[in-house]
């Protein structure tokens, strides 16, 4: 028998792997043998499905049954009931939070997927990334075939230009134009680089694409090479992404074996080769000029532009550098045409964008929506809202270079220009949701701390300025701030912004500026009233238990690491402030809202 009546897809992305999907696969293989089903049912390890919060995820085809939070012992039941007898294991079906009825939950029916349009992620969670044949079957390398055999390089560039694709790494520069510059530059050698140095805390779309569909990035790089006249490409990927590195390596080997990479590809006379360079995890190496010197084996420091990479880039040769997600769109654009791509998204931002949802949100994971989708749809309809009934406070987009967006701007359609207009940016597409228990001063401090550690130190303004800003914010968080500090902070922001060479320094003030703009009252509460309204900064926080609301369930006492809460079962509990370490476990776990942040704090 060479066909299988059922395919069992297990997510092999980093998220699900860390929650044990490898063991599931092993056990599934064992069980299928035991029931003598191994020749009719095929387990397949795929890339990320996107709903990482519900991992490990198992999908059974042809039904498309979507199981979430699957454990090794659940596998026994899936095999004995579903795979042998065809009875779906209802208990394991994915349930969206706040929906109390379990409907027939096939993959495309659940709200998380319903609002999405998958272009860059189209194969993630659908094909086996370690098998080139599956990629081929889903129209893989057809775009390359078309480009190499039927189109001139100029036609390829025109198609990309007409599609309106803009760089997905965050800058939003028109991709077609970039290719045109690189094509126009003269040079004996030219290079193509795929920037997979994804460093924003909370962003993981590039990792997922490389893990789930590595061939589509390779295909796009070959097309890119053909278009600009380059015969060599590099993928600069973080060493912290071992699964991505491994699958990319396998993909390169398989493509070489099929003659899709190497000399005289498909008899077209075009040669192309791809190398992998593993980065050591410096945030600044995501900046293109720093990335290129890092590939050359030098210290990762940015250089002034111009000369732009298209003129003088890697090894002083004309170079085109694009982000992973940008590349993931290319084959589809060539196959379906620029008009198709433009039919999605907004006028100035065509196509779709992948976002990594994180923070205080129910459906942590990866989503892809057309540009112009309101933030609200992403957070509430797809993301499933804020957990534990807490109130929304802000959303941070664009990683450390982005800003915090308050509730009043939730209705804006997401695209490059709208986000910049309200002080944030698209960045690589991280979306971190914050609830009422997030202190905005603390958030700004967190990002500055990250940036001060990641600054390469080349420009004084960035190296010293961020450090001083961090000191001021640390002072404010511990109750030692004054109102003059805010003015100093703002002036430092402008200095760092103006006097830094690369985007790291230029955008570093964004988290501070946006929190100052939208949440100034929180800064003032820290400075004047010496209290942290969210109850996060330990020096400015005290909790109290409302005796009227407390039911005496004891959950807070059980979760208190310092044994600061005492009381009899069924009676109101008491909190001893002297012992309290301000971790907030009591507030986060109380079902009756009886634990509160005190309005007055004894300094």
């Amino acid at each position: 028998m060479d066909i299988f009546r059922s395919h069992v897809l297990l997510c092999g992305g980093t998220g699900c792997t860390s929650s044990g999907s490898e063991q599931l696969l092993e056990h599934l293989n064992l069980k299928l043998k035991e029931y003598d089903l191994d020749r009719e049912i095929k387990p397949i390890r795929t890339g990320c499905f996107g709903l990482c919060e519900a991992g490990p995820i198992v999908i059974v085809y042809p039904e498309g049954t979507f199981y979430s939070h699957v454990t090794v012992s659940d596998i026994d039941e899936i095999v004995a009931e579903h795979l042998l007898k065809g009875r779906i294991v209802k208990r394991l079906l994915h349930q969206e939070k706040d929906v109390d009825h379990t409907v027939d939950m096939a993959l495309d029916q659940i709200p998380f997927y319903k609002h999405q349009t998958r272009v860059a992620l189209r194969n993630c969670g659908v094909i086996d990334p370690e098998n080139i044949d599956e990629y081929l079957a889903f129209d893989g390398y057809k775009a390359m075939q078309k480009a190499l055999l039927e189109m001139t390089p100029e036609q390829v560039i025109d198609t990309v230009s007409q599609s309106g694709l803009r760089g997905r790494g965050g800058g939003g520069f028109p991709t077609g134009q970039k290719w045109k510059f690189a094509r126009a530059s003269q040079g004996e050698r030219k290079f193509v680089i795929c920037n997979a140095d994804e460093g924003d805390p909370g962003a993981f779309m590039d990792r997922s694409v490389l893990e789930g569909d590595p061939h589509c990035v390779l295909e796009a790089m070959i097309i890119n090479g053909y278009a600009i006249g380059a015969n060599e490409g590099y993928v600069y990927v973080r060493a912290e992404y071992p699964i991505a590195v491994k699958r990319l390596g396998m993909a390169i080997d398989q493509a070489k074996e099929y003659g899709l990479l190497g000399k005289n590809i498909l008899g077209s006379g075009f040669d192309f080769d791809v190398h992998i360079r593993e980065g050591a995890g410096a945030f600044v190496c995501g900046e293109e000029t720093a990335l290129m010197v890092s590939i050359q084996g030098e210290r990762g420091e940015p250089h002034p532009k111009p000369p732009f990479p298209a003129v003088r880039g890697l090894f002083d040769a004309p170079t085109n550098i694009n982000n992973v997600e940008t590349y993931a769109n290319i084959p589809q654009i060539l196959l379906h045409g620029p008009t198709w791509f433009r039919s999605m998204g907004t006028e100035k931002s065509a196509g779709t964008k992948v976002f990594a949802l994180g923070g205080k949100i129910n459906n942590t994971g990866l989503v892809e929506v057309p540009m112009g989708t309101p933030l609200k749809t992403v957070i509430y309809d797809i993301g499933g809202g804020i957990p534990k009934g807490k109130a929304f406070k802000a959303v941070q987009t664009g990683g450390p270079s982005g800003g915090c967006i308050p509730a009043e701007h939730l209705d804006i359609p997401i695209d490059y220009d709208n986000l910049i207009a309200i002080g944030s940016m698209m960045g690589s597409g991280g979306i971190i949701v914050m609830d009422e228990r997030t202190c905005m001063v603390d958030v700004a401090r967190y990002y500055l701390n990250f940036l001060s550690e990641e600054s390469c130190g080349k420009c004084v303004a960035c190296r010293e300025g961020i450090k001083r800003m961090l000191e001021i914010l640390t002072d404010i968080c511990s109750g030692k701030g004054s109102e003059e500090d805010l003015e100093l902070l703002e002036s430092l922001c402008h200095t760092v912004e103006e006097a830094s060479l690369c985007a790291l320094g230029k955008t570093a003030p964004n988290p501070v500026l946006t929190t100052l703009k939208y949440f100034k009252d929180e800064y003032l509460a820290h400075i004047n009233e010496k209290r942290c309204p969210a109850g996060v900064c330990p020096d400015l926080t005290a909790y109290e238990i409302d005796e009227k609301l407390c039911k005496g369930c004891g959950v807070c006492a059980k979760n208190c690491p310092a044994s600061a809460i005492s009381g009899e079962r069924g009676k109101a509990h008491r909190l001893d402030e002297a012992c309290c370490v301000k971790c907030g476990n009591c507030i986060d776990n109380c079902k009756f809202n009886a634990v509160r942040v005190k309005r007055e704090v004894r300094a």
Binding site: I3, H7, E40, G86, R87, Y258, G259
Partner: protein, 126 residues
């Protein structure tokens, strides 16, 4: 090094293997086998493998083999429904591996239901 034709052959071959996961499923003929305890006891497993084998040997695409529970006529098990893309359903009863191969050849491939194995014929005899 593969030629364009070889690549296309790999595409087609793999597509047959993974068509289960493609979205245009309406086109498929569905073979639904009763695999509750009664079905399995009456020999539904060898019937299922016979269907799989025959479909595989004939390289049929767009045929799905799935299972279902007990429909309440346990005395007629193993029961098999063949549902064609036009929505017509034919129910076969007391199927064995030989009958299964016949059903694939006559009904699934050629579109002629095997009347003598259907539930109507069995009920007339009784």
């Amino acid at each position: 090094m593969k030629t364009l034709e070889e690549l296309e052959a790999i595409r087609q071959k793999t597509l047959a293997r993974i068509s289960l996961r493609k979205e245009d499923k309406e086109e498929a003929v569905r073979v639904v086998i009763g695999m509750a305890t009664c079905g399995i006891a009456a020999g539904a497993r060898p019937v299922l493998t016979a269907f799989m084998d025959e479909i595989g040997r004939r390289h049929l695409r767009n045929v799905q083999v799935t299972q279902t529970g007990c429909v309440g006529m346990c005395r007629l098990e193993p029961m098999v429904d063949v549902i064609t893309p036009d929505g017509n359903k034919v129910t076969y009863v007391k199927v064995n591996p030989e009958k299964a191969r016949m059903i694939v050849a006559d009904h699934v491939v050629n579109g002629h239901p095997v009347t003598e194995y259907t539930i109507g014929a069995a009920e007339q005899q009784a």
